[in-house]
């Protein structure tokens, strides 16, 4: 049992974890970089300690400092969130050594699943199907990879051995372009994970990205909470997730769930984790990887099952048995999550930084927003561009889409550009509405002009708005000129200025 949890993360997920702790009566310790003094997780936590300068490797990746703070503050558990140190076995091991509960799996399970080769071999041995590739063959040189590529066949993917989140990932269509892509993949992997090793994997075309949420306790109980549909991605970054998937039926869900449980058991997994699968058009599915941590998109599963995954993580880490058996898990309605990123969908999704000057959150029935930002907060270039997650629940998928539409329309964020218009366009896309999409949909068959035909054109209103704003700006500057012309005496100005500032 523990009573004080250090959250080794920032942003919305740090806030999410603080909330769970607070609702369990557990004290919370935040850590923060110099860029995050004003962040919500610092404001909401019971305690807060500075880690260092803004760059992650000088702050949120500083294991040593985080462990020192845990000691100093008397925190007896650490929740790593996602990203940063969440999948570092050495960090989990260091916690264990110091008698601090790591709210996540054992180091051995992180290690087994973190190294994609080991993960692949482990689950294959347990009878779980995998995608053809070189993952099981260790750190190959460029030469070796170029030699083996034709045997796997094109198209194929280069992936970072230490990776996740699409970083260091490259798609290869032919042998000629492969050397350059290998270089850039290794460079990105090195920069993101400090490990430039990569492997090759067959690209399953027309595939859906389906992941199964699992929960496992130290008593050996393992259950799954159904799937999440995560196929809507851009540059291998997820943009929108759903639970459940419009593609799965109950039989396939049960089958994939059972395989996921088997994969988790293969590494004696404890705590929350996610098994990612590729599902092809014929409903064959292949193990991709296991995320040995809480996922960004866990709320959609929470919305359809009513299970609070973070609270369950804490419960498991406290050594207690799961609150639910597999037969207690029931699915109710449909949930969708839109990741709200500070980026400009009209300018190639370029990250957008700046101060949020104004914000109105969508609220009301069936709407949940998980966010770490607020009006006055500055979005810096140092961290992930995801500033909020907008999650809605509906009795049916159609109702969830309609609700998401109204929530997106209500959402106001001023000061940075966001990808809200992207999601609005997606909600109007017939293919999305029909549930007919795969992992290539966003990049290959979707454009921001896609929904043109379905949507009313407001050219005239746009003309009117721009003209009114422009006119007002002209009027204002004209007034200033006039005022300056009138006031010939500078001394008058001084008097006025002083009165204003008294």
């Amino acid at each position: 049992m523990f009573n004080k949890v250090l959250i080794a993360n920032r942003g919305e997920i740090a806030v999410r974890i603080i909330r769970a702790c607070r609702e369990l009566g557990i004290e919370t310790v935040a850590v923060f970089s110099e860029a995050d003094r004003h962040a919500l997780h610092v404001r909401y936590a019971d305690e807060a300690y500075l880690l260092g300068p803004a760059p992650s490797r000088e702050s949120y990746l500083r294991m040593d400092k985080i462990l020192d703070i845990a000691k100093k503050s008397g925190a007896d558990a650490i929740h790593p969130g996602y990203g940063f140190l969440a999948e570092r076995e050495d960090f989990a091991a260091a916690c264990e050594e110091r008698g601090i509960a790591f709210i996540g799996p054992k180091p051995s399970a992180i290690a087994a699943m973190g190294d994609k080769m080991t993960a692949r071999n482990t689950v294959m041995a347990a009878g779980v199907p995998v995608v053809p590739g070189t993952e099981g063959e260790g750190a190959l040189s460029n030469e070796d990879l170029l030699a083996v590529a034709p045997q796997i066949g094109f198209p194929l993917l280069i992936k970072a051995t230490a990776g996740g989140g699409g970083k260091g990932m490259r798609e290869v269509r032919s042998l000629e372009e492969m050397p350059a892509l290998l270089e850039s993949a290794r460079r990105e992997a090195e920069s993101a994970f400090g490990d430039g090793n990569v492997y090759l994997e067959k690209l399953v075309e027309g595939a859906r990205h389906i992941e199964i949420q699992i929960l496992a306790d130290a008593q050996g109980n393992v259950i799954h909470l159904g799937e999440r549909e995560c196929s809507l991605q851009r540059r291998h970054q997820k943009l929108l997730e759903e639970a459940l998937s419009p593609e799965l039926d109950e039989e396939l869900r049960a089958r994939m769930g059972a395989v996921a449980v088997k994969a988790a058991q293969a590494v004696n997994y404890v705590n929350a984790g996610t098994i990612e699968f590729l599902l092809d058009k014929e409903h064959n599915f292949y193990f991709l990887e296991m995320n040995t941590r809480l996922q960004v998109e866990h709320p959609v599963t929470e919305m359809v099952t009513g299970i609070d995954i973070v609270k369950e993580q804490i419960r498991i880490a406290r050594g207690r048995a799961l609150s639910y058996r597999q037969e207690d898990v029931r699915f109710n309605g449909h949930a969708i999550e839109c990741r709200i990123n500070a980026e400009d969908p009209y300018n190639n999704f370029m990250p957008s930084t700046g101060r949020i000057t104004h914000s109105i959150l969508p609220t009301g029935p069936g709407v949940r927003v998980d966010t770490g930002v607020y009006p006055g907060f500055e979005i810096t270039p140092f961290y992930d561009p995801m500033i909020a997650k907008l999650i809605v629940w509906g009795e049916t998928r159609a109702q969830a889409i309609l609700r998401m539409r109204r929530a997106l329309e209500e959402y106001r964020i001023v000061g940075v550009r966001t990808n809200i218009p992207f999601h609005q366009t997606m909600m109007d896309s017939h293919r999305f509405m029909g549930g007919q999409y795969d992992t290539r949909f966003v990049e290959e068959r979707f454009s921001m002009d896609d929904a043109e035909d379905n949507r009313k054109n407001h050219d005239e209103t746009a003309a009117l708005l721009a003209t009114l704003v422009a006119h007002r700006a002209t009027e204002r500057s004209a007034q200033i000129v006039q005022r300056n012309a009138r006031d010939t005496s500078n001394w008058k100005w001084v008097g006025r200025w002083e009165r204003m500032h008294r």
Partner: protein, 165 residues
């Protein structure tokens, strides 16, 4: 005050009659137009229809984000319109292009050298920001000139990176 306002291909003649009346292409509307909380967010009621939009000024004119769609708009008075017509319009395809950093970040690589010939779409600079590597590409064919940054350097938003002639 009369304006010629262009949205995409469509041109509108907009006249601001008084605070509550505007005509578009000769048809008069009653308008109720306010800014929300002093932000670049505007609420407009035109003959009962309620609209709300973000309106921002950009280098190319105005951007109106309305119901999840971006409308690039040009607003000119008659004098400006005539001036532009006289100049011939259009962005010169032959002048110098100055690549500026679209956001603050870290230069990861500059895969071109001064004097090098580049094609439209070729990567000029790789800039890391928010943990993403962003490829900044050439908008047209040309020759690279005056590279002002190198890999490992931090740059501010709008900082000049290099030119293409």
């Amino acid at each position: 005050m009369r304006y010629i306002t262009t949205v995409g291909e469509r041109e509108f003649l907009v006249e601001i009659i008084d605070e509550h009346h505007v005509s578009i292409d000769g048809k008069t509307y009653e308008v109720d137009f306010v800014s929300v909380s002093g932000q670049p967010v505007y609420s407009l009621i035109v003959d009962g229809k309620s609209h709300e939009a973000y309106v921002n000024e950009s280098d190319e004119g105005w951007q109106v984000l309305l119901r999840g769609r971006l409308y690039p708009v040009k607003v000119e008075d008659e004098r400006e319109k005539r001036l532009r017509a006289a100049a011939g319009g259009g962005v010169a395809e032959t002048g110098e292009f100055h690549l500026k950093a679209p956001m603050p970040g870290l230069v990861v690589a500059v895969p071109v050298t001064e004097g090098q010939q580049v094609k439209k779409g070729q990567v000029l600079v790789i800039l890391e920001s928010m943990k993403m590597q962003n490829e900044l590409k050439s908008p047209r064919d040309g020759t690279v000139a005056r590279i002002r940054v190198k890999a490992g350097e931090s740059v501010e938003q709008k900082q000049a990176l290099l030119s293409v002639q």
